[in-house]
Every structure is written in structure tokens, then in C-alpha cells.
Symmetry: C2
Subunit: 416 residues, 2 copies
């Protein structure tokens, strides 16, 4: 069972927005055993869209289309669907009522316009999928044994439609094979070193299991994907293969990763253990705090943090002794440890994580080389720190510092 | 002059990573007048890749391929290029020397392996494009009047290759039309209301200028794209059209946006005016700090911030009077204003921005409805706050609070 995704919009092809919709759709369809054959991004141009429809119909049984459903002139997906299916637009009263309701509820001082009313026009052959959060309806059009699904490009609206309308309908409409993905998260070795180590095992994987290496700023994910008609059988074989893999990577293994990011695992562990966390961030500049607070329930364990960007703020707010800064400079193990200990005190938390370093591009308040970062962790049993050299690229230095800090915290909270 | 982007990798099609490379490449090529016709993401599968090569060659003069150049078994781009161009892999000594140099420099305790040496094998018809930051070389292969360019999928390596190798070569290799994009940033009205307001003007745009609406969490960008063979002519016409547009949107106009985000404009204004900024973040949880500190030079004006997530931290660190919290609750204008004023004092800054609200999904330390957010700004002349209702979706509440806080700060610093 194959699907293809077509994203429509000039803004994607001039690089003004990154297409995040496709990854979301691919993930959700994979979970129910539907493979994405191809993702194609095309212009708001009817000839081009029609060609993409035709190609996709040759590749796949399910064609998911996002974008081009807005009320403005550059949005032409509905007209193009009509051209493709030899259809006409007709007014859908349920959609019109919904548009009117949304306006009455959320946009008090703006009268509903003819443009907004146009949102209620849909191809006569389409079943309407209700878009609870917006005016552009989803549409489901069947043609022989294929189905075309058109969704709005606004991520929030598209996601709700996929979860509440598209996935349930696909489940009843098609018979699918099962797909199982298991991803092992490792830290500390490069892709090619791991590949050499496990080459023998990889060579003997059965044909229905594929292995992929996904490296990213100091971590490598190893992803096993299995496909088959019997779920217990493929699950059992994946478990058997994982059991063989594990002893070979014990020293670099951090955990299994499902949909979960490491900060979510950390959040769960802190909540389970009833422990609390605080932060003192210099070079990571709020990125660590932002990682934790993105997830609901963070207030259960996350007390807060200080972004002590200017040197003065390390002294004034964190109360790092100025003599320590003068003697060792702001980018030092001593200052990192003091930042962590002070944050632990200030926020009255069990643990406190700190970062201080020079992300570049030029040297700041310290003589430290660009790329030098100290990470410290204050625990109920004391404080420790580590020094790292993360290269010369600012974004990557910050990204690696965030990942490494999360790794250090994860390993520590796992132990206690 | 048209290009097409082909991204290769199962990880994209199962949704494990979001393809950010394409947007970057599209933006850079657009700047030199090369239009992206289509972006296609395909599996690590040679039949599929060959089909994509063939389709792309029919659509475009320039085919840019990313991914599939790693040292592991799932990386098959080079072999597939050989199949397509009826070519063989040969060892490139310069690449081998570069791989050895990288290992000697960065990976002290890992010996270079046969897998790493394989990175030096390239199709005999390819010109090598030096990848300064990684072991996989870029490749440039010409066929009749077309050119295929293969780049590694690691964003950092790909970006450097585009800037230092690909763009300079394209500039000398092809004659191109000029493209001018101008983007107007507006806050406060929806896409369809703006469209009605400017419909007359839009209808009379010349054919070589296209208009697009790009809405995102409380802001709408209006993008004009013009293409032509005379740069002064299209620039003049775009300016003329903008001059006509401006009076119609004066009340919602925030600024022109080139590649610049609003936090970068704010950073420039603060630096020019010699003013400083501090933050007190509750519901935005570090995201505002992270916006500012992502950009180099932030230390010139950004003093730091407190992420006062737990109520206790608002009292203990920010010294918001507990009586204020008891009387008005943590989600109130009074507490928002006190947070801003206290941050201004603590960090000794000219301005301080604060957020407090309930992002959901459930009510927290306050009885405030999910979606209620107060944003306060302390200035050299006093403090003010505004109340907002940002809906029920956690990610969107946080996103809208961040955008609105940046808007408030931008408008204020612009005035003074």
C-alpha cells in the first residue's frame, strides 16, 4: 500500500517556508502500514499540478495533497481538482455554516466576506472532511481504486484532519501490510565506525528488515524498519535482531527512541522520581529551557532557569563570585560548576544544569577559543563538569552543546 | 532557467527528518535568478532515483541532488549516478587526502577505515566540489546542456558547498533572468480581509509580478515576485507597485522583510541605539531568549533573562511581591508588569519584556483560561501590558505569544 504526498505552493519552491507537513503525514501514515513512495512539491500552477496528480496516480493508491486551499487568488487547488476529475464546484451548506460559525466565534469585528464564503465551494464528487480549526475543508475524492485527499496547508489544521478524519477513513478503506520501526539512539561514535562494528550483523538481516543510519550533531540513530503481513512475526524478528545488536553497541547505547525526544524521556524520569530541575544557560541562550517547556507537564519538574548571557548577570543574578570569574574567566570549569550550584540554590531544585562557552563567530567576554564549551551538572551529591570543543560553526556549537547537556543529564538521572 | 531538487533518503519519506535543505537551496538559487520547478523526495532505491533523474532532466536545466553519499550500505547515490551516466567509480586522490586530513585533525582516537576510504571514489565524469567540512565530496556532472549536482545531505556541509562551490559555478555557467522578491510584513488582520482590501491593486499587477499571501500565527507576509531580463526595470516596477500598496495597509504594516526575522531587526535597532534588553519568561519558557541568542552579536544588547516557570521562582528570583500574586494570580497584568520591572532592575537593562499565561493543555498555577497570556514591557519611561486570548492549542499559544511579544517590543523600540 503506497501513498504519495503532493505539496502545493510557490512559498515552498522559493524557500520561504520549510515543508514540515510532509514529515508529519509520512510518520502518521507509516504507523498504519502505509508507505510514502514520493513527496513532490509543485508551484501554484494548474498545468504543473495536473501533471503531478497524473504521476502520483501512476505511483500510488493514495494521493495526499496539501496547500492551495486559501481564499486568495493564488490558491487554485480546488479548481485544479475539478479539471482533473471533470467536475464542478458546488456550495456545501455544512461548510458554509461552519465558516459562519468560526467568524462569529473568533473574529468579532470582521464581517464575513464573499472570499470567505468561497471556502464553502467544493467539487461535487468530493466528500467533505470537516476542518474544525479553519475555513478550508478537507476533501476525499475516489477514482477507481485510488483516493485523492486534499488538505489545507496550515499545519495545525492539517494535523487535526489527518488524525481525526484521514487516518480513520484509510483504516476502513484499505487493507494494509504492517510496518514496525525501532530506533536505537547512540552517542559518542561516528556513523562509519558503528557501521564497521556491526557489518556482519547488518549483512545477515532478513530482506524484510532495512537498517538506516541517521547522524545528527553528536548522536547517531540506527533505525530498523520491518514490513510484513503478520504483525507478531515481524515484531518478533525485530526483537531478535535487536537482541543481537545490543551487545555490540552497549558502550554507546542511550535508549530506544519511539516518537520521544531525549528531553521528553528526561521529563518522564524526573516526574516519576519526584525530582526537580533548574538551568543556568550562557552559550545555549534559552534553548535548553525551551526544549523542556515545549512539552506539556513541564511545570511538574522544571522550576525555571536563568539565561545569564552578559557576564554581569552571572554575578548579579546567579551570584557567581566575581573572583572566580576574574581568576578562571567566564568560560571555565569553575564558573560552569558555580553557575550550576547557584541555580540549584536559587531555584531550590534537586538538579541544575549549566552551560558556558564561546559559540562564536568571534571571541566574547572570554579568551576561550570559539567552540569551547563547559557543561556542569549539580546533583544532590555534588557537582561535576566536562569540557568540549564543538568546532567553529555557531549554530552547530549551540546545537551540540544542547545535545550534550541533555545527554549528560539523561545519563545522570537514569543512575539515581 | 529552471532547477529541480531531488532529495534522497528513506528518513525523509518515513517522516523521521524534516527536509530543510530544499528551502535553503531554493532560496540561494532564487537569489541568482534560478527558479525551482519542483522538489522531489525519493527513497534510497536505484530504480526510483533513476526515474527521478529522468523526470528532472525533462523539467529543468539544473538538477540538484542531496543525500545518499554517506559511507554506509543504504547510501547508493554515487552508484546510481554511474548507472545513469554509464560511468564507473574511480579513486580521487585529492578527496582521499582530504578524508585522511579530516580524520587526523578531528577524530584522534579512531583509525581511518575502508568505509571512509570509499568516500574518495567518484564517477569518472564528475568534477569534484570540495566539501570542507565532511568526507563526502560534492559532484558536478554535465550532460549536453544540463548539469547534475550531487551534494551531501548534512545541512552544514551542503550549505557551505552551495555558497562556495555551486553558486559561483552556476553564475559563470548559465545566463539567467533576474528575480526580485519583496516581502511586506503585516500584523493584525487576516489573509482574506487584506485580500479584499487590495483586490483592485492586485488585479492590475503586471503579468511579470506575482503576489502571494503567507499567513503565520498572527502575521501575514505579502510577497511580490518579479522576473525579467532587466534588473533596473523590474526593480523600478516593484517599487512603483509597493508605493501604491503602502497607503492601503499603513495600519497593519510592520516592515519590509528580506532574509531578516523580526528578532534580527530588533537586535539591529537595540545595537544602533545603544540600548539593552532583558527578559522574564513564564509561558514562553525560554523561546524568546532563544530567538535573540541564535543570532551572532546578541551579547551587544541582550543582558539575559529569567525563565520563571514555577510560581516560586517568580517570587524568589524575580522578587515579584507574593501579595501581588495572591491578589491577582500569576496570570495577570499586575504580575506581568512586575516581572518586567523586576527583570529590568535585576539585569540593569533599558528595556525588559515579560510573558505570563496559561499555554495548556490544562490549567496550571492559575485559574486563568487556557490561552490567556499577558505580555508586559518595561521601558525607560514606565511599564505597560496587554492581555491576549490565543486559543486552546499549546504549541500555537506559545508561538503566538512569542510573535506578539516580539511585535510589541519592535514597535516600541522603533518609536524611541
Amino acid at each position: 500500500m503506497r501513498a504519495e504526498i503532493i505539496t502545493i505552493g510557490d512559498e515552498i519552491l522559493i524557500g520561504q517556508i520549510v515543508d514540515t507537513n510532509s514529515a508529519f503525514i509520512a510518520k502518521e501514515l507509516n504507523k498504519i502500514g502505509i508507505e510514502i513512495f514520493q513527496i513532490t512539491s509543485v508551484h501554484d500552477d494548474s498545468t504543473h499540478i495536473l501533471q503531478a496528480f497524473k504521476d502520483a496516480e501512476n505511483h500510488a493508491e493514495i494521493i495526499i495533497i496539501t496547500g492551495g486551499l486559501g481564499p486568495t487568488k493564488d490558491d487554485i487547488t480546488k479548481q485544479t481538482l475539478c479539471a482533473y476529475f471533470d467536475d464542478v464546484l458546488i456550495q456545501n451548506d455544512a461548510v458554509l455554516a461552519h465558516v459562519e460559525e468560526l467568524f462569529a466565534k473568533y473574529i468579532n469585528n470582521t464581517p464575513i466576506s464573499d472570499l470567505n464564503r468561497k471556502q464553502a465551494l467544493v467539487p461535487s464528487k468530493a466528500k467533505v472532511l470537516k476542518n474544525a480549526f479553519g475555513t478550508a475543508p478537507g476533501m476525499w475524492i475516489e477514482k477507481n481504486d485510488k483516493v485523492f485527499i486534499s488538505l489545507p496547508g496550515v499545519p495545525y489544521e492539517m494535523k487535526a484532519l489527518i488524525a481525526n478524519e484521514v487516518v480513520p477513513r484509510l483504516l476502513t478503506h484499505f487493507k494494509r501490510p504492517f510496518i514496525v520501526h525501532k530506533t536505537v539512539l547512540t552517542y559518542g561514535l561516528g556513523e562509519s565506525v558503528i557501521a564497521e562494528r556491526i557489518a556482519d550483523w547488518e549483512d545477515h538481516l532478513p530482506a524484510f528488515i532495512k537498517l538506516a543510519y541517521l547522524p545528527n550533531l553528536g548522536k547517531v540513530r540506527l533505525r530498523l524498519s520491518a514490513k510484513g503481513s503478520s504483525l507478531p512475526e515481524i515484531e518478533q524478528e525485530v526483537s531478535r535482531q535487536l537482541a543481537m545488536l545490543m551487545p555490540m553497541i552497549a558502550d554507546i547505547y542511550v535508549g530506544m527512541e519511539e516518537d520521544e525526544e531525549i528531553e521528553q524521556s528526561i521529563g518522564k524520569l524526573f516526574t516519576q522520581k519526584g525530582k526537580t530541575l533548574a538551568l543556568a544557560e550562557s552559550c545555549t541562550g534559552g534553548k535548553l529551557a525551551s526544549k523542556f517547556t515545549t512539552n506539556p507537564g513541564a511545570s511538574k519538574y522544571f522550576m525555571g532557569g536563568v539565561v545569564s548571557y552578559a557576564t554581569a548577570s552571572k554575578e548579579d543574578i546567579l551570584k557567581v563570585p566575581s573572583q572566580l570569574i576574574n581568576q578562571f574567566t567566564v568560560v571555565s570549569a569553575e564558573v560552569a560548576q558555580s553557575m550550576a550550584t547557584q541555580a540549584q540554590k536559587l531555584f531550590n531544585s534537586d538538579y541544575a544544569l549549566s552551560t558556558t562557552g564561546n559559540a562564536g563567530p568571534t571571541k566574547g567576554d572570554s579568551e576561550a577559543e570559539v567552540g569551547t564549551v563547559f557543561i556542569a551538572l549539580a546533583t544532590p551529591n555534588g557537582v561535576f563538569s566536562e569540557k568540549f570543543e564543538f568546532g567553529k560553526n555557531r549554530d552547530r556549537v549551540i546545537g551540540k552543546a544542547v545535545n550534550k547537556a541533555l545527554e549528560i543529564l539523561f545519563k545522570e538521572i537514569l543512575k539515581n
